[in-house]
Every structure is written in structure tokens, then in C-alpha cells.
């Protein structure tokens, strides 16, 4: 079984994000970029399936600027077998990504595609669902546990108020939630080996997809600054402040 794992290059979760002065977006020049953490979970799950013998090949896909190749290398160092880079300067929105992934899926014929449930930069939570619709495949989103048996896959989903278990037939789409697994660290030998694994370079046109954005961003602004809090010395003081200052009791 072949698994496709899309990996997105995003601003590192440790970076304090700054809005560009002209309000058109966030500052990414000179900012540390990393793999979207939910995608790391996706790579880890794919590698575990391969280690268990349930998968034979893992293909990592990234889209965007040439530096996305670094994100693919990270996936290769974690255990993916090869990469596909779709290079474009276009601003990629979920629908365009889903269309590009559909084209790749038709070429590669994977049995399973594991995406992150969302990317930590735009928090869209849309690509996996759109891809499932475009391919006409079943989807198990927000997965916290997956089990493959024969041609079926059981997915435990994290939903409001509890866990839901769904059974899908392969080929299928999975999107990962935080608790699915804890991604591994790449060891030095695996980083070295990743250098030698192949990455194919494609353009959206090669896949017959026009990645033009459908939505326009009107404005990006920082959230209002929170005022500094105060420390209270005792419960009595807290109650007093809730009465007189916050006026909530």
C-alpha cells in the first residue's frame, strides 16, 4: 500500500508572528519556517504503518516556494521514501491544494492520504475534506487512532463531547488530530540518508491545475493587546476585586 502525505511549510510554532506594516499579511521574510505540526503527525503515522508492514511506500508532497523542499527533506528524514515538490509562487488556498493533490493522487494511486486536520498558519481545516469530495473517497477527519485491516480502516475521531469511531473502505482520506501520535525526532543517519532520496519537481501546469486564489484577503490585523493581569494575595482579596472592580458578583 502506498501512502501520500502532504506536508506544508509554515511559520515555526515558536515564532512570535508579526503582521506586515501594510496589513496585507504576516511577515515571513527571515522568519524560521518548519513543517506544520499536524503534518508531522501525519508523517509519523505513515511511517508507523510502514514499520508495521501495513504500508510499502510513503510519498511526501509539498507545494509552494522552492524552499518547501526542506520540509520534504524533514519528512524524508523521518522515514518517507520520496518526495514531490509542486513549485509555484501563487498564493495557495485549500481548494487549489486539494485540486493539485487530486491530480497527484490520480497519478500515484495511493490507498491512503494522511493530511493534517489544519495548518497552523491559516487554520482553514478544509483541504482534507475538499480532497475527499473531489476524489469521491471516504474521509476520517480529526483522527486520534487508526487501525487498518484488509481493505478497511477504522478511525477514532475526536468530536465534541467524546470519541466517534467510523469504518471506511480504502482508498480513504485521514486528517490527523493532536493525540494520534507523538512524532519522532530524526536521527543523524536518517538525515544523511534523506539527502539521497529523490524529490520530483513539478509545476501546477504539469498537473493541469490553475492554482489561482478564489478568495481575496481584505486585511490582516493583530488581535487587540491584552492588558496585564494582577496577582491577588488571598481569596478574600479576589472576591473583593470581583465585586468592586470587575463587578461580576
Amino acid at each position: 500500500m502506498k501512502i501520500l502525505v502532504p506536508v506544508k511549510r509554515v511559520v515555526d510554532y515558536n515564532v512570535k508572528v508579526r503582521v506586515k506594516a501594510d496589513g496585507t499579511g504576516i511577515e515571513t521574510a527571515g522568519v524560521k519556517m518548519s513543517m506544520n505540526p499536524f503534518d508531522e503527525i501525519g508523517v509519523e503515522e505513515a511511517v508507523r504503518l510502514k514499520e508495521k508492514g501495513a504500508a510499502t511506500e510513503i510519498v511526501a508532497v509539498s507545494m509552494g516556494v522552492p524552499q518547501c523542499a526542506e520540509t520534504i527533506r524533514t519528512a524524508l528524514a523521518m522515514g518517507a521514501d520520496r518526495g514531490i515538490l509542486v513549485e509555484t509562487d501563487a498564493e495557495l488556498q485549500p481548494l487549489a491544494v486539494a485540486k493539485l493533490l487530486k491530480a497527484i493522487a490520480e497519478k500515484e494511486q495511493p490507498k491512503l492520504i494522511i493530511l493534517g486536520k489544519q495548518a497552523i498558519d491559516d487554520d482553514m481545516n478544509a483541504t482534507g475534506q475538499m480532497l475527499a469530495a473531489l476524489l469521491g473517497w471516504p474521509q476520517g477527519t480529526f483522527a486520534s487512532k487508526i487501525t487498518i485491516e484488509g481493505d478497511g480502516i477504522t478511525v477514532t475521531r475526536e468530536v465534541d463531547g467524546g470519541l466517534e469511531t467510523v469504518a471506511l473502505t480504502l482508498p480513504a482520506i485521514i486528517t490527523t488530530d493532536l493525540r494520534l501520535n507523538e512524532p519522532r525526532y530524526a536521527s543523524l543517519p536518517n538525515i544523511m540518508k534523506a539527502r539521497k532520496k529523490p524529490i520530483d519537481n513539478l509545476k501546477p501546469a504539469d498537473l493541469g491545475v490553475d492554482p489561482k486564489p478564489r478568495l481575496t484577503t481584505v486585511k490582516v490585523a493583530e488581535p487587540p493587546k491584552r492588558k496585564a493581569g494582577v496577582k491577588v494575595g488571598s481569596v478574600a482579596e479576589l472576591v473583593e476585586k470581583l465585586k468592586t472592580e470587575a463587578k461580576v458578583i
Binding site: 518548519s34 523542499a69 526542506e70 527533506r73 524533514t74 528524514a77 525526532y185 530524526a186 536521527s187 543523524l188 543517519p189 538525515i191 544523511m192 539527502r195 496585564a228
Partner: protein, 388 residues
Amino acid sequence: MNFALTDQQQQIRDEVAKLCARFDETYWLERDRTATFPEAFFAAMAEGNWLGIAMPEEYGGAGLGITEAAILMQTVAESGACMSGASAIHLNIFGLNPVVVSGTETQKRRMLPPVVAGRDKACFGVTEPNAGLNTTQISTRADRRGDRYMINGTKIWTSTAQVANKILLLARTTPLDRVQRHSHGLTLFYTTLDRAHAEVRLIHKMGRHAVDSNMVFFEDMEVPEEDRIGEEGEGFRTLLHGLNPERVLVAAEAIGIGHAGLARASRYARERVVFGRPIGQNQGIQHPLAKCWAELEAARLMVMKAAWLYDQGLPCGAEANAAKYLAGEAGFRACEQAVMTHGGMGYAQEYHVERYLRESLIPRIAPVSPQLILSYLAERVLDLPKSY
């Protein structure tokens, strides 16, 4: 000229940082308080094969350069592991360079893989109480008895000798009065630290309690001839090969500690409110921290330059020494400023910067003092009369 890290170097930094994040501030505080070697950290570094970063691939390493090793060491120290983490692995990373450079094929096959895998821990026995920085004056003797040598004498400051099973040892095989030059007649060994004939006594020191330093008293410790590295009498020359890269690594560690201190100081300065504003809004707090950043980054560039020269096979003595000097001073000043920025809290262990400060003195003093570096630069670069 290109100042950017390569993809691979960046990846090394990222992965090592992730690994180090598993060993948080409380882990290191506890190691320091209880003076226990960071075994779990050491094992994790060995498991990721990071110890072999600069060792040849034939012997289990990754065959990368001293540049990558320096990036690794800076990242370890910068994680808050400081010298407690860096010194725990320092010798495994590059200590066996003399074996790589001067060892026979048989020796390399026997000695390198266990160190790369972390099965062997090595310590480094050069400094002696009565010789100081004047290394050629050491008095530990190695007397030949057939196909073995008998070691007698005293070493001081031998770090990790409490936990190490191997020692890289410099000893005199020809007495000083029978050699033409003081640097002749010294021989280097890499051998088992035989505790039946080597008494290891802990030195109670200022910091880095997790990684011990010791006096070692040798009494008739036997070393087989197979454990001699390079020719008899050529030990000083053999050792010299490794000095520049070692300076580069120590410098990188110092930069790491400095940045660790600076990060804590800046965070505290943003959060601590006194007189109705964050203390970091005062230039009296900002400027010293900004200066520390500038000094650390300037020193880091010198470290990277020295590492690059070494990896290109070019002479790097002046740069490696200057890097170690600049980094040692900048690392120390950043940690000192970190304590001062915290005010009284800087003196509390819970805020960690006092530990950083105690540890930041080590790369300043060792393996060579700032004075001796300046004397070296004056002599070798400025062509002034030798003063030492």
C-alpha cells in the same frame, strides 16, 4: 561569501533542539543539585547517532565537518543544557581526533565505533598540577617495560573520570633533560582507565556539578603498546592536530550558554513589571542585553569562520583561538547580565541563570586561558616577541 546555514545544517539544528527539549530546565537543575551525570541525555544523543557527527563514516560516524559539530554543540548548550550537557558529550564528539589522524587502521576499528555509539566514555588527561598551561612540563611518566608502558604521576581537572572507562593520556616517555626540544619525548595513549592503578578523586568545584572533574593519581598503571597513538615521543604533535577544532567546539558551547542566558533575561525583562512598566522598557536594562547579543553574534561568526577554515583544510590557529577568546568572554558577559537583569531572582536557582553563570566560566578558563590566547595571537599574528 555565504552566511546562511545549509538545509542540512539547519535540519541538524532543528532536530538537536527538538531532542534537547525533552531534557528541560528541571532536568538540568536536578542534575546540578544532585551532581549526577546526565545518563538519559547522553543515551538519547548516542541513540540519534549524534555523537558520531564528525567521525568518519567507516567507523560509524556521519563524516560531517567541525562546522556541523559546532552547530550541534551550540544547540545543545543553548537548550539550557549549558556545559552540563555539552561537557557530557564533548569528548565523544571530537576527543578521539588524534586517533582519526594518527591511529593505525586496527586502532581506528577498535577505538572509534564504541565511542561513536556511546558504549565507551572517554576522559582527557593532559593538565597537571605542576605544569599548568605549560604542557610540555608535565611530569607523568610512561616507562617502557617490553611491550607495555607503566604510568606513574598525577593529572588534574580530568573531567568525566568518575564515569569514563577510557582515557586519552599524555605522558613523558623521555625525560626533559634528554630531549632536544621540550615538546619532544611526550607520548599519547588511548587506553582503559584501570581503577586498580588509578585513583580518581573528585574536585569540588563552582559549577557543572553534573559532570565531574578530578585529580587522577596513577600508580604503575600498565598500558599495552597497542594503545599508543602515533609514534613514541611524538605525542605533543599528535595532540596539536585536535587543539584548533576543540577550541572551535568550546567556543560554540560558550555562544550557546550566552544565548540561553540572553533568552531568559529578555523574557524576564518583558514580563517583570516594576514602577508600572516592564523593566525591559528601560534602556538601562535593554542596552546591556542588546550589547550581549551583538557580542555573541560577532563571536559566532568568528567560530563559523574558524570551523570553515578547518573543514577546508586551511590553517585556522589564529581564528580558532580568537573564536574561543571572543566566545568565552561574550558567553560569560551574557550570563552575568542575565543574572543582573533578574535582580534578586537571578540569584535563585529556580530562575536557572545563576547556574548558567557558574557554568559560563568554564569555556572562559578551559582548555586554554584568555591570557594565553592573547599571548599566542600577539606572537603569531602580530609578530611580537614570544612572552610565554
